[in-house]
């Protein structure tokens, strides 16, 4: 007997809504078993994982802080993913964006010009775009796979960062430690919510979400992109360009990631350092797909992922959970949700082998 998954013509709307809830329930049941086996109180663990992020203003603000870069990058990536252009290297574009934005405060550590911050953000976004543009050039000129090129460019970006921090951009009073000077106030993003670390980069992410939804839903350009990526030949007959889809996808993805990088150094970090990103560029890929590549779905998935991250940190501190258990919980949640999505989009059919 053969089991095969056949794509449904139309996914049920009810099932689409039930799937995340069911996935959530399954993940909770599985983790209660896991936590109990570990000898930890499951109630306390789940409380700090899922409820605590909402219970105090500080915790909730940290969720929003985490959400800003994830959301911004995921919106940029989703434009490409919808057009079948797979930019896997947002992490590298973020790092290059952070580096470019840091150039000004590193060169002018006493700077107090009002133009410094806008210039940093522009430089960050531009550098992210340029970095992703390399992959677009390779793809359109030499037909090099953009998945590989963007991924490898991320490794190069990390080494550029190392080089600068261990060499020319090292804090001269920092005892050779790999980090830049602390940025002056003029190089820091204004705080959006007083008393928290949430800065105006959250607004950038929300504006990006609105723009992404306009681009994909209401504009001919969005349609051209979609067709250009999904069916290059059909696009060519219709006079749309595949190369254009690739360029636009990668440049916008790079722009978003570069801006996110600039906002990290000008935001909670306040300096350029090695851990400029804790994998936002990679997590954003998950966020984009969890959100169904839909701009509003991505807003929700970025929020949920941030809650899980902050909750995971809380669970380590308050519920004495080892980090591996936190990761298992996060993994369970994703696995159940993706499994659910598979069943929504496909129906399972059991095909008996035809007798010879």
């Amino acid at each position: 007997m053969k089991i095969s998954f056949i794509r449904r013509e139309r996914a049920s709307r009810t099932a689409m809504l039930v799937a995340p809830v069911a996935a959530f329930a399954c993940a909770i049941v599985a983790s209660v078993v896991l936590f109990t086996l570990l000898g930890k109180a499951p109630g306390q663990a789940l409380y700090s994982l899922l409820l605590e992020p909402f219970l105090t203003w500080y915790n909730f603000s940290e969720v929003l802080l985490k959400m800003a870069p994830l959301l911004l990058i995921a919106q940029g990536l989703a434009i490409g993913f919808r057009a079948n252009v797979f930019n896997i290297g947002a992490e590298g574009q973020l790092i290059i964006g952070a580096i470019a934005a840091s150039a000004l405060p590193v060169w002018y550590p006493q700077g107090d010009s009002a133009f410094m911050l806008p210039a940093m953000l522009l430089m960050g976004a531009g550098a992210g775009m340029a970095w992703a543009g390399i992959a677009a050039l390779f793809r359109t000129r030499f037909n090099a796979n953009e998945i590989l090129v963007t991924l490898m460019l991320s490794l190069i970006a990390a080494q550029v960062l190392n080089y600068l921090l261990l060499g020319p951009w090292k804090d001269p009073h920092g005892f050779n430690f790999p980090q830049s000077v602390m940025f002056p106030d003029a190089a820091l993003l204004p705080i959006l919510l007083p008393g928290t670390r949430v800065n105006i980069s959250l607004l950038f992410a929300l504006i990006a979400s609105v723009l992404a939804s306009i681009l994909m839903r209401h504009r001919f350009a969005g349609f051209q992109l979609l067709v250009g990526g999904l069916a290059p030949r059909a696009a060519r007959y219709a006079g749309f360009s595949e190369a254009r889809a690739i360029w636009v996808s990668l440049l916008l993805g790079g722009l978003a990631a570069g801006l996110a990088g600039a906002a990290e150094v000008a935001g909670p970090l306040g300096q350029l350092q090695r851990s400029v990103s804790t994998g936002y560029g990679y997590s954003a890929i998950i966020v984009a797909y969890l959100g169904g590549l839909n701009p509003w779905g991505i807003v929700i998935s970025a929020f949920v992922m941030s809650v899980i991250y902050i909750g995971g940190d809380n669970a380590m501190v308050s519920a004495d959970l080892p980090i591996a258990a936190v990761w298992v919980f996060q993994g369970l949640l994703l696995c159940f949700y993706l499994a659910g999505l598979t069943f929504i989009r496909h129906r399972v059919s059991f095909i008996r082998k035809a007798k010879p």
Partner: protein
């Protein structure tokens, strides 16, 4: 700080209900909540593991009067800052930050919470309730250098280093000087992997050194046994820092430059409880019962062991420092004049290699 707060509470005990002081405040004062935050997994070996052993000693001493929360694999930067804040919000009043990268966040936290005492590994900033601490690994690596030179046939030694920061540079320089004290012709090659925890590149780096002919390798500040295991496999002697990895190289393990944080942690917690905690740089060596050498390889000749023990004794009583002139730097220029011994400040900010280290420092 805790002391004053406690006496304040006692003196206003009658008024406390009127003030609606939360009951848990008393419970928290009775039990000291300690948080240890480390950047890598606190595995069975390595840096984070030795810090964890230090907190285990605290638990052994204070029993149920202390509660230690271990937070491992915490990224430096905004995540680390948040988790530190959370530990304090949860009532931890004694923090041990196990990595340099936690410095800025930890310092901010210390200023905002004068009642909290913080120990911070390998930094250089100090505040009244914020003490940087580190180990004088160079004392142990000097002895390892002596042993390495006596065992090396190729006269080429190697080192896999995490980051080119002073702490690691001094260890390599002392290792080189120790080796040259036995055989002046010794040369040392260094590969920097730019990570505290990256088993794959550490192993690659070790293999690169071995293929260049290095027959003794120094695994400098790796939290994994990857370098040690690779050397055992290739038949090269190897040693590392912090905790013994002899089980990963039963035949070729040269020894360990170990660290024991228990005495320092105990003294700091006692000071915190007594309200006398004062932020000060603690750079601990053999005389402080922090740095030690152990698990020497039996292949080291008995007369060499005697020589090492003699130098060990002078390091212990402080009559000898490896960084005593004349010392020449990599470019052949005089770095330390004859008869001059480098002070702690000069050692703590060392950004040059001694002659004999063939790899230039990343600039």
């Amino acid at each position: 700080m805790t002391q004053t707060r406690r006496s304040f509470l006692k003196s206003t005990l009658a008024a406390s209900t009127a003030l609606a002081l939360p009951i848990p405040a008393f419970a928290q004062d009775a039990v000291l909540n300690v948080a240890l935050i480390v950047p890598s997994p606190a595995a069975d070996v390595g840096w984070s593991h030795t810090l964890e052993l230090g907190t285990k000693a605290l638990e052994a001493e204070y029993g149920d009067k202390i509660k230690v929360t271990l937070l491992e694999n915490i990224a430096e930067g905004p995540d680390g800052d948040r988790i530190m804040n959370k530990t304090v919000a949860d009532g931890n009043t004694f923090l041990i930050l196990g990595s340099f990268g936690y410095m800025n966040g930890g310092l901010k936290l210390a200023k905002a919470h004068p009642e909290v005492s913080i120990l911070h590994a390998s930094g250089y900033q100090t505040a009244p309730n914020f003490s940087p601490f580190g180990a004088r690994y160079y004392q142990g690596t000097y002895l390892m250098g002596m042993a390495a030179a006596s065992l090396s046939k190729s006269k080429k030694l190697g080192c896999v280093g995490a980051f080119a920061i002073p702490e690691l540079i001094t260890s390599i320089n002392a290792f080189t000087l120790g080796a040259q004290s036995v055989d002046p012709a010794i040369e040392v090659s260094v590969v920097w992997v730019n990570s505290w925890f990256d088993p794959a590149s550490e192993q690659e780096a070790a293999k690169a050194l071995l293929s260049q002919g290095c027959d003794v390798v120094f695994s400098n500040a790796q939290d994994t046994p990857s370098v040690v295991a690779a050397c055992e496999e290739a038949g090269a002697f190897v040693f590392n820092l912090n905790s013994s990895m002899k089980t990963y190289a039963p035949k070729k393990y040269l020894g360990v430059v170990g660290t024991d944080w228990a005495p320092y942690f105990k003294a700091s917690v006692a000071a915190h409880l007594a309200g006398t905690f004062a932020g000060a740089s603690a750079w601990l060596g053999m005389a402080d019962n922090c740095v030690f050498v152990a698990d020497w390889n039996p292949d080291i000749a008995p007369d060499m062991v005697a020589k090492i023990e003699a130098v060990h004794a002078t390091l212990l009583d402080g009559s000898f420092s490896p960084f005593t002139g004349p010392l020449t730097n990599q470019d052949g220029a005089e770095a330390v004049a004859a008869g001059v011994t480098l002070g702690d400040d000069a050692i703590l900010s060392m950004d040059w290699h001694v002659k004999g280290v063939t790899t230039p420092l990343p600039k």
